[in-house]
Symmetry: C2
Subunit: 424 residues, 2 copies
């Protein structure tokens, strides 16, 4: 009972009880209540994507991710609010109302997965499904002091998820600990013929993937963080030196350049391709900022899309060389934590800045885990993210667990390698 507009729909007590009664008591998530971001289908209920005009039509079947959690014994309790059409990183772009951080009514919750993050952070549920295209599964984790796991693209099916940028969308989890995320991620990680972008975990990890994450890179040079963020980041750097065997600096300029392409370049056309048909006619069911942003994508020329790919291919190659020497990268999840009033004053600019460190991950085919990293001097939660190449998910979860002081449990992917404890 947060008083926040975190739900777009709460299931009736009777429906929840019925679903709970149906769950296999031996299943790995038996009885675990979970929330579902409302751009993911739950059979029998509408998927609004925070657009009330879509509330009339119930989904015929559940998304694969929801079905897999149900099969693992988990019990859905409702659909959660989001930045409309999952377009935003702030949590304010919704006709259902703006969420705020559980730590401060004046500061944004982060988005787009605002309701799912608040649901977990406020204790309403121990697990929530979210999505992450630009950072929607990580930014609200940072702003609410919880764990957000963004798997490698394609490992978790997006069948039954409303697309934002279909090539980049990922289904993610929010939990309060890495340990709580593990069984959910295990249940969700399945190849799915219904998702053309589904990719299996390779039998052996690619060469860039470390069995154990010994070398963690951090950004070299000026980060342009808000002052309270800067102080918390310095503390996080100190803490990292107690956890990683080696901490090395890297130039993250090319990563950030890639990330800027998501909102400024070709990929806006992808968003228009996915969402454009919902944007006419205008009306109170549409968030004006989301509409303005996505309509820009209509006018992007096809050749410019390919010119963008060309640039991204070069940046992917350039950033790829980092993984020859580095196992994972630690970054602040965001450069600051804006107030609701700051977002209202500059809805597009503030949002873009919030995403500075998250937007590159899916464009560059990386996996990421956002974890709490203490509090800022003003008491707001601070969060960092660990980022690694595609298919490094198991060792990355262990690095995140070590960071959180939790058990490191994954076996190294290569059976020829001895397991060493990474925890400090």
């Amino acid at each position: 009972m947060t008083g926040q507009p975190l739900w777009t729909l709460q299931l009736d007590r009777s429906e929840v009880d019925e679903l709970a009664a149906r769950a296999d008591p031996e299943a790995p998530l038996a009885g675990v209540r979970f929330a579902i971001k409302d751009n993911i289908d739950l059979a029998g209920h509408p998927t609004t994507a925070a657009c009330p005009a879509l509330a009339a039509k119930p989904a015929g079947s559940s998304a694969t991710a929801v079905r897999l959690l149900l099969e693992a014994g988990a019990v859905p309790v409702g659909k959660t609010n989001l930045d409309q059409f999952a377009t935003g990183l702030v949590g304010t772009r919704s006709p259902y109302g703006a969420c705020h951080s559980v730590a401060s009514p004046a500061h944004v919750s982060g988005g787009s997965s605002s309701g799912s993050a608040v649901a977990v952070a406020s204790g309403a549920v121990p697990l929530a499904l979210a999505t992450d295209t630009a950072g929607s599964g990580r930014v609200p984790a940072a702003f609410n002091g919880i764990v957000g796991v963004k798997p490698t693209r394609g490992l978790v099916s997006t069948a039954g998820v409303m697309p934002a940028v279909a090539d980049l969308d990922c289904v993610t989890t929010f939990t309060t600990t890495v340990a709580a995320a593990r069984p959910a991620i295990a249940a969700l990680t399945r190849p799915d013929p219904a998702d053309p972008r589904s990719r299996p975990m390779p039998p052996r990890p690619p060469v860039a993937v470390a069995a154990l994450m010994r070398v963690v890179a951090v950004p070299d040079g000026e980060m342009e963080l808000d002052p309270p963020h800067e102080e918390a980041w310095r503390a996080a750097l100190d803490r990292l030196r107690g956890i990683a065997a080696h901490v090395v600096p890297v130039d993250i300029g090319p990563f950030l350049e890639a990330g800027r392409m998501l909102y400024e370049g070709a990929w806006l056309a992808a968003r228009y391709a996915a969402i454009g048909h919902y944007l006419e006619p205008d009306g109170p069911h549409l968030d004006p900022t989301v509409r303005r942003i996505v309509l820009r994508g209509r006018d992007i020329a096809g050749p410019d899309v390919f010119a963008g790919f060309e640039r991204l291919a070069a940046l992917r190659a350039q950033t790829g060389t980092v993984w020859a020497d580095v196992d994972a990268l630690m970054l602040p999840t965001t450069p600051g934590h804006p107030r609701l009033s700051e977002v209202a004053a500059d809805p597009i600019g503030v949002n873009a800045r919030v995403g500075r460190f998250t937007t590159f991950a899916n464009l560059l085919d990386l996996c990421a885990v956002a974890v709490p990293a203490g509090e800022r001097a003003d008491g707001l939660p601070f969060g960092v993210q660990f980022v690694a190449p595609a298919f490094a998910d198991p060792p990355l979860l262990d690095l995140a667990a070590a960071w959180c002081g939790e058990p490191v449990v994954s076996a190294p992917a290569d059976p020829g390698t001895t397991l060493l404890a990474v925890a400090g």
Copy 2:
């Protein structure tokens, strides 16, 4: 001395002799003369892409593919004619003149790698470099009775190659036998930091890749081949039954639908992105058909590009299921062999039909080898191609070798598997 306009540039005898003198006599291709399609850089000579306006400026360095052949001891003798900007499958779209099949002055050579194919088929050189985006490395092989090897995208660097559709372009070889292609392909297959799309051969083949190609699929249903082609195709089917352990029919409809997207859909915008800046102002240095086709790409909208990707992703998933049961696919390389006069009468329509069976390979991330398959009743060469999933190149070369009655030499990729001879 074919009398054909196959060269855009022939190196001086003295330069060839000097390069030959520099080659390591112990190298695997020591002294082997080769031709270079003129969209691939050779240091000190212009890369015209069959556009005479580009003839003034010599390339500063050689393409990686050329450099690797030089390092392997091979000796370049000249640059070869092509359908301008590698846009075409006929060999007639060049201000340097139209090539024809070595078997008939009335029939096209195929393209875009026309000069490279004629150079090998006429005996001018034993090896030529070409490129293949839509089929340019296979169609001219079929029309001239030679072998065209199109590796998996990314295995051979495209650094120093003028792009046509950068995401799809492949460097390929023409030879008269599979055996002659092997050392060239071996020399060319290197990861290249200079090519952002470079991909290494994975240490273990993906699950879809067979160590030995026992199950070969052929198209189910009506193929709409020209009558002399139809007869030659039936003979090829009979011959296949003596080579493959199992021959099974598959529906190639989804493959062909994917292939049509290359000339009709989003990918024309990619061609405009790569070539568009050469197309204004118009003049005799531009092929009018190439110009007309590529300019169409200018007006393709960004969102339609992503809609095309969405459709392609679905078709890739749909066609991908074929590889669960099938090791390779055999198809006629083309549905017919047009006359120069037919191309002149309908330059775009006839070209599109020529590519019916080749355009899907790179869109669907497949490797392919085009091989001779006897003659049609009218004496023209007939060709088939073998197609397989990405990274199936080594076993696919062996299947092609078995077809040609040549030795099967590759070790199976998985050392746990016993090598069985496939040759019939």
